[in-house]
């Protein structure tokens, strides 16, 4: 017998019936609304509160300024992001013995199938992307992976992918080997120029298919719209323990990979916009943090809910992050040197 017989209309009908059926079986205790009325009697009424609100409305700037350590907090959050990018990112260029060694180690853990090295024009310095250990902690986490990538104006999967379309994902319960293989294959196949990828690692026991996406991906609103290299993500789900943005960019000298861990506290919400703008030189990108209106994250700059960090690759493996709103420039380095990584972590 067909086990997938329902179309959307039937499901919608069934959901509606179920909701009405359930709601008909519940009603509040009779005391509930007496309690409401009692409490209404205790309220001061709309007059006083509204008058206060009206007064405050005229001093909205002042309200922002009394939020404690707001600017500092926002700046700290952003610096954390920058640091996470630094310590989590690896670029190994051809000719680096360290890179080759590390790469071999990473590959040894990853796959049972042969992986074809991407063809790279000789004129371009060859970048060998090393899968950092941070990207594959599935053994420890027993998590699930969900990913997708941009091609042109579409959020698509690679050809011949064994995974399902729609909101791209590996089937829940995929083996660690499969996940590692797919990840490394993607990294290698798509490392040369055009793709960005997001990797979400969920807390154990969370099914990314069954549970809502931790990210609100808005396909309709610029810059979160359906444009390559630009989208809006709101890390708003405490079940996501790591949310990594992975972007590959070729600055003409090599390819860098950046990723960062979710820097938000549970209950705090903000959106990331990772943008590469047409006017930006190759390799530049913007990490824009936009806090939701009800988020405690804020600062007292012109736009208290938004910070724009411009990342610039100044030379191989080195970048600066300029945060105009916080009047701060952070210098970072992509490195595979364990000593440097340890230093950054500290």
């Amino acid at each position: 017998m067909d086990k997938s017989p329902m179309n959307d209309q039937q499901i919608e009908h069934l959901i509606q019936s179920s909701l009405f059926n359930d709601s008909a079986q519940v009603s509040p205790n009779s005391g509930t609304f007496f309690a409401i009325q009692d409490r209404l009697g205790e309220q001061k009424g709309p007059g006083m509160r509204q008058r206060v609100a009206d007064s405050l409305e005229n001093f909205s700037e002042a309200i922002w300024r009394i939020i404690p350590v707001s600017k500092q907090r926002m700046a700290q959050a952003l610096v954390l992001v920058a640091i996470a990018v630094v310590v989590g990112s690896f670029v190994a260029f051809a000719g680096s013995d360290d890179a080759v060694d590390s790469g071999s180690a990473a590959e040894a853990t990853a796959t049972t199938e042969p992986i074809t090295e991407p063809a790279v024009p000789e004129a371009t310095p060859i970048a060998k992307i090393i899968v950092p250990n941070d990207l594959t902690p599935f053994e420890e986490l027993e998590g699930s992976m969900m990913w997708g990538e941009w091609a042109g104006n579409n959020f698509v999967l690679p050809e011949n992918s064994v995974i399902q379309p729609d909101f791209a994902h590996l089937p829940y319960g995929s083996s660690i080997e499969k996940q590692n293989f797919m990840l490394e294959k993607l990294l290698k196949d798509f490392a040369f120029g055009s793709s960005r990828m997001q990797l979400l690692i969920y807390a154990p026991g969370v099914d990314p298919l069954a549970d809502s996406s931790p990210f609100d991906i808005d396909y309709e609103v610029d810059p979160g719209g359906n444009t390559a290299g630009s989208w809006t993500l709101s890390a708003n789900d405490p079940e996501v323990i790591i949310a990594e943005e992975i972007a590959f960019c070729d600055d003409g000298r090599g390819i860098y990979l950046q990723h960062s861990e979710k820097p938000v506290e549970v209950g705090e919400t903000f959106a990331w916009d990772v943008e590469a703008r047409p006017e930006d030189p190759p390799g530049d990108f913007h990490l824009i943090m936009t806090a939701e209106l009800d988020s405690p994250i804020t600062h007292d700059g012109p736009d208290p809910k938004r910070l724009d960090a411009q990342f610039t690759i100044t030379e191989v493996g080195v970048f600066t992050t300029k945060i105009e709103e916080a009047d701060t420039t952070v210098v970072g380095m992509f490195s595979i040197d364990p000593a440097v990584i340890a230093m950054c972590k500290n």
């Binding site: 017998m1 067909d2 086990k3 997938s4 017989p5 329902m6 959307d8 039937q10 499901i11 919608e12 069934l14 959901i15 509606q16 019936s17 179920s18 909701l19 009405f20 059926n21 359930d22 709601s23 079986q25 519940v26 009603s27 509040p28 205790n29 509930t32 609304f33 309690a35 409401i36 009325q37 409490r39 209404l40 009697g41 309220q43 009424g45 709309p46 007059g47 509160r49 509204q50 609100a53 729609d166 909101f167 298919l209 069954a210 549970d211 809502s212 996406s213 609100d216 991906i217 808005d218 396909y219 309709e220 609103v221 979160g224 549970v266 209950g267 009800d294």
Partner: protein
């Protein structure tokens, strides 16, 4: 014409509330409490939480009644207050993800043998809905119980249109998969066959 009259009455009622007339507001509580409570229960699947949410929503509505500039939007306004309250409670982790057991209580398993196939199917769906993440349950309730448009859901939740769409999409997909996992249901099967034959 009737609609116009109702709006006038509602407008007058809201104006009285805005002038501080508690009795008038109590009439609104009487008229809307069941509805808000049911929405809250469908989202939380918890009587206590639903009652708290309903109470708090009315208290907030009373406190903010002067900000309601379009009285005919009272229903949407109250719903938004309720949804915001529930969202905030979730952020504080006081609204747990609904447990399937909560829905089982409604379904009353002791009487399962006597249930009709239709009730059984609805009961299965009830379990599925109860197991959804709260955000997805919220959009389902607003869409299929409240029968709000996408734009109205945007207004009620404060989520962006794309977010609302994707949550509905995910919820439907999840519901379908879960129902399929539960296996073929003769009632559904017969409905499918009816539709296939144009019956």
């Amino acid at each position: 014409m009737n609609e116009q009259r109702e709006q006038l009455v509602l407008g007058r009622s809201i104006r009285l509330c805005q002038e501080g007339n508690r009795d008038e507001f109590k009439a609104i509580v009487d008229a809307y409490s069941q509805r808000l409570y049911r929405i809250a229960w469908l989202i939380t699947r918890d009587h206590g939480l639903a009652e708290d949410a309903t109470q708090e929503s009315f208290i907030r509505a009373w406190q903010q009644i002067r900000s309601l500039s379009e009285p005919w939007k009272l229903t949407a306004w109250l719903t938004r207050i309720l949804i915001n309250y529930l969202k905030n409670q979730r952020r504080r982790n006081t609204v747990p993800t609904a447990k399937i057991e909560a829905a089982v209580n409604v379904a009353d398993p002791a009487r399962a043998d006597q249930q009709t196939l239709a009730a059984e199917t609805a009961s299965e769906m009830s379990l599925v809905i109860a197991g959804l993440p709260a955000d997805q349950r919220t959009v389902l309730v607003l869409r299929y119980f409240e029968e709000l448009s996408l734009e109205e859901i945007v207004e009620a939740t404060g989520w962006r249109l794309g977010t609302v769409k994707s949550r509905i999409h995910r919820a439907l997909r999840h519901a379908r998969r879960q129902m399929e996992r539960l296996g073929p249901n003769p009632l559904l099967q017969s409905r499918v066959e009816e539709e296939a034959t144009g019956g």
